[in-house]
């Protein structure tokens, strides 16, 4: 059996753990016994993209140690998967350590979630049920750095009950861009407001994307604007199934369609 490691990413670990749980749910449903190497921390992208390559070196070393022995790594983030694929080599070269350069070259392949589901597992229908109108924003790094193409929308189209509304100007950046969002906050917000306007124009209840960082930005705007549109990671949509109706006739989690794992609702923990 292939040893598959979940690279949950630091932002999901601390801010959006439900996304990590949803990945586990979906993969187990498809028969993949994913492991979570607890030694993982952060891929180093925030440092690299801000110009702090030296500060990223220990993070790259840590990533390699954490995922040593795994045959595949799955990340619910196009951006972090892209960072491992395209930036770890740069950081290793910067370190001047030929051993690190070799180790990066030999590291297990990292897949963004939709790549793993569609390419490796050969699945588009993951057995999900989500009777809502959603729109999908292809994040820049998943689209242009990884080239995931239409894999995420193929997965969404196979979700029962789901209506996918096309997002105008979908391929245009939402304006997050990591530290760009605060270093150039005004420009970032101008970009994000245009994205939010397009999202609202679709009439969707839910904006879906494969990166919670971008969703944090657009979602922060949508929520501030009292738009009534919520944001969800692709994994969380794919984890949803038909409500499990308990003996007293109420849906198991009381509110929305159920999942295989009980999902905790944000505020009430």
């Amino acid at each position: 059996m292939t040893r598959v490691g979940l690279m949950v990413t630091c932002i999901n670990d601390a801010l959006f753990p439900d996304t990590g749980k949803a990945v586990v749910t979906v993969l187990r449903r498809l028969g993949v016994d994913v492991e979570f190497p607890a030694a993982q921390t952060c891929c180093g992208q925030p440092m690299v993209n801000t110009g702090y390559l030296d500060e990223a070196v220990p993070l790259v070393r840590n990533h390699l140690d954490a995922f040593a022995g795994y045959e595949a790594v799955i990340a619910p983030s196009g951006s972090c998967a892209g960072s491992v694929r395209h930036q770890h080599g740069l950081v290793a070269q910067r370190s001047g350590d030929p051993g690190l350069v070799r180790a990066v070259a030999d590291a297990p392949p990292v897949y963004e979630l939709s790549e793993y589901l569609v390419d490796v597992l050969g699945t588009e229908d993951v057995g999900a049920y989500f009777p809502h109108r959603v729109t999908y924003h292809p994040t820049c790094h998943s689209l242009r750095m990884l080239g995931v193409g239409d894999r995420p929308t193929r997965l969404l189209r196979a979700v029962r009950g789901l209506t996918l509304a096309e997002l105008p100007g979908a391929a245009e950046c939402c304006g997050f861009g990591g530290t760009f969002a605060v270093k150039n906050a005004e420009t970032s917000i101008a970009m994000g407001n245009d994205k939010a306007r397009h999202v609202r124009g679709t009439g969707a209840e839910v904006l879906v994307a494969g990166d919670n960082s971008c969703l944090m930005h657009v979602g922060g705007l949508l929520s501030r604007q009292r738009s009534g549109v919520r944001v969800m990671h692709l994994a969380e949509v794919l984890a949803q199934t038909e409500p499990v109706v308990s003996a007293d006739g109420r849906a198991a989690d009381g509110r929305s369609p159920g999942t295989d794992l009980p999902q905790e609702q944000g505020a009430g923990r």
Binding site: L15, P17, A38, G51, P58, A185, A190, G219, V229
Partner: protein, 499 residues
């Protein structure tokens, strides 16, 4: 003609002012949107576009690998064809050469073909200081010059102006520079073009000296090429007696055959046309036909410094098409002036800091950060310049330069160091997350609920304001994923409990 980018504040500040200019926002969104659509259409109809891009990249890479050889070959070919070749290390040398040529012909004016190289060295300013007027003849350059404005785009320097503004500039300024605009001028494009045509015609017919750049310079034959849309270039290149072309050293191509690839890539990428209306090529002096005195000034001005950087040198492949500007979501909103350079947009953000050098002034150092790294520029670049890669590379150079200089680390230095320390070991990461989770519990009580049920915070005072002024702030989860996994054995115990 006093326009200067000197004194432009760092990008975030300059951008803020631009973002508040509703007319600018509207003009740019309209213009870049139109040209983006045109480009996508004409690129889409070429089946072998990717092969063409690869070929363009390969040709330019070959040039950069053997640049000294091709430049010397170009000099020999040009000299054999009757042209005079000058070498200029920097702007001052290049400007002095052109001023000297104009003076020798005792003229107080030159006509100019649109040229980025002469913008880069501020040739017009140098000529003016020598008492020589430089008349821009490209329509958009004319608008910028008459309006005492600055260019904001590589291809369409007046892209920030709409036709109502152009009409006002023509009515107000044309009379001072020569033939006035007709008093009944409207803002119809054809009427505006006709006014410019009549205004420029007398300058074309009178000028003794013309100044141009070159899109390409063929080493094998000594042929220079200029591509344009309006015919003003053809006028300048053929009517005056003397022609001076200021050419960046990276513009050289090995063979005439290479134009085959470049002349397919350039017009489709820049104006969204299958072919540009005017392609002028000239090889030194042709007796009895066109200018009888031909000069070529080969300009370095920082280019050899760029060439010395293995990652950064790909910027020298640029053929100045401006596709990256038109597709850039940052440029579309801030416009070109915010970049404080004749080279705005994504290519400017990697070219300007390399030509000027980083670590000297905050404005230049802010340019590599003027990008969300979305990668749209790389996707459209006809010579496949990986602009995001160079941006990140230059960011590291900025950080390195500041680390060397600063005795006391900046707030950002400290934050990155702290994050690096916390993420270098999982135990520290876990501890930081526990602390954040505790903070999150408290914050959740203070915040409100976003659609979908998550607790969020509104505007937060202090440095977090840059984020939270317009965006709600997610509250850290009370239990991190790592804690949840440890507590429930990856959800297995939780599943059993719920049965």
């Amino acid at each position: 003609m006093s326009g200067t980018f000197l004194g432009t504040p760092a990008f975030p500040t300059a951008a803020k002012a631009a973002l508040e200019d509703s007319q600018l926002r509207r003009n740019l969104a309209h213009a870049t949107g139109t040209i983006r659509t045109k480009r996508a259409k004409v690129v889409g109809e070429v089946d072998e576009w990717e092969q063409l891009r690869l070929a363009g990249e390969a040709i330019k890479n070959r040039v950069l690998r053997h640049l000294p050889d091709y430049l010397e070959q170009l000099e020999r070919s040009l000299t054999a064809a009757g042209a005079t070749v000058h070498w200029a290390r920097d702007a001052a040398e290049a400007n002095a050469i052109v001023v000297d040529i104009a003076r020798r012909h005792a003229t107080d004016e030159v006509v100019k073909v649109k040229s980025m190289a002469t913008q880069e060295i501020d040739l017009n300013g140098a000529l003016e200081a020598a008492g020589i007027r430089a008349w821009e003849t490209d329509l958009a350059e004319l608008i910028v010059q008459l309006g005492d404005d600055l260019p904001s785009h590589i291809l369409v320097p007046a892209i920030h102006r709409n036709r109502a503004e152009i009409r006002e500039i023509f009515l107000r300024e044309m009379g001072r520079a020569g033939r006035p605009a007709p008093a009944d001028l409207t803002d119809e494009p054809a009427r505006l073009a006709a006014a410019a045509r009549a205004h420029l015609r007398e300058k074309f017919l009178r000028a003794k000296v013309a100044v141009s750049g070159a899109n390409f310079a063929v080493a094998e034959t000594g042929t220079l090429a200029v591509v344009e849309s309006e015919g003003n270039g053809r006028m300048c290149l053929t009517l005056p007696e003397v022609l001076v072309s200021v050419v960046g050293i990276e513009k050289v191509l090995p063979t005439y055959q290479d134009l085959d690839v470049m002349l397919q890539l350039l017009p489709r990428s820049s104006t969204g046309e299958r072919m540009n209306p005017y392609t002028s090529t000239w090889t030194g002096v042709t007796p009895g036909d066109g200018p009888q005195e031909v000069h070529v000034v080969l300009l370095d001005n920082g280019r050899t410094d760029v060439l010395a950087d293995p990652t950064g040198r790909q910027a020298l492949r640029c053929i100045r098409c401006s596709a990256c500007l038109n597709v850039c979501p940052v440029y579309e909103r801030t416009g070109g002036h915010a970049y404080g350079s004749v080279y705005p947009g994504p290519i400017g953000a990697i070219l300007t800091p390399q030509l000027r050098g980083v670590g000297h002034d905050p404005q230049t150092d802010s340019l590599p950060y003027a990008s969300s790294l979305c990668g749209a520029c790389f996707e459209v670049c006809p010579v496949r310049i990986d602009i995001p890669e160079v941006l990140v590379h230059l960011r590291s150079q900025v950080v390195d330069a500041h680390k060397r200089e600063r005795r006391v680390p900046s707030v950002q230095d400290l934050a990155m160091k702290a994050a690096s320390w916390a993420f270098a070991a999982p135990s520290r990461t876990a501890a930081a997350e526990r602390a954040a989770g505790l903070g999150g519990r408290l914050a959740a009580k203070l915040g409100r609920t976003a659609p979908g049920g998550r607790p969020v915070l509104g505007a937060v005072p202090g440095p977090a304001g840059a984020w939270s002024d317009s965006r709600d702030v997610p509250v850290p989860a009370p239990e991190s994923f790592r804690q949840w996994w440890a507590r429930t054995d990856g959800g297995r115990r939780e599943q059993e409990e719920s049965r």
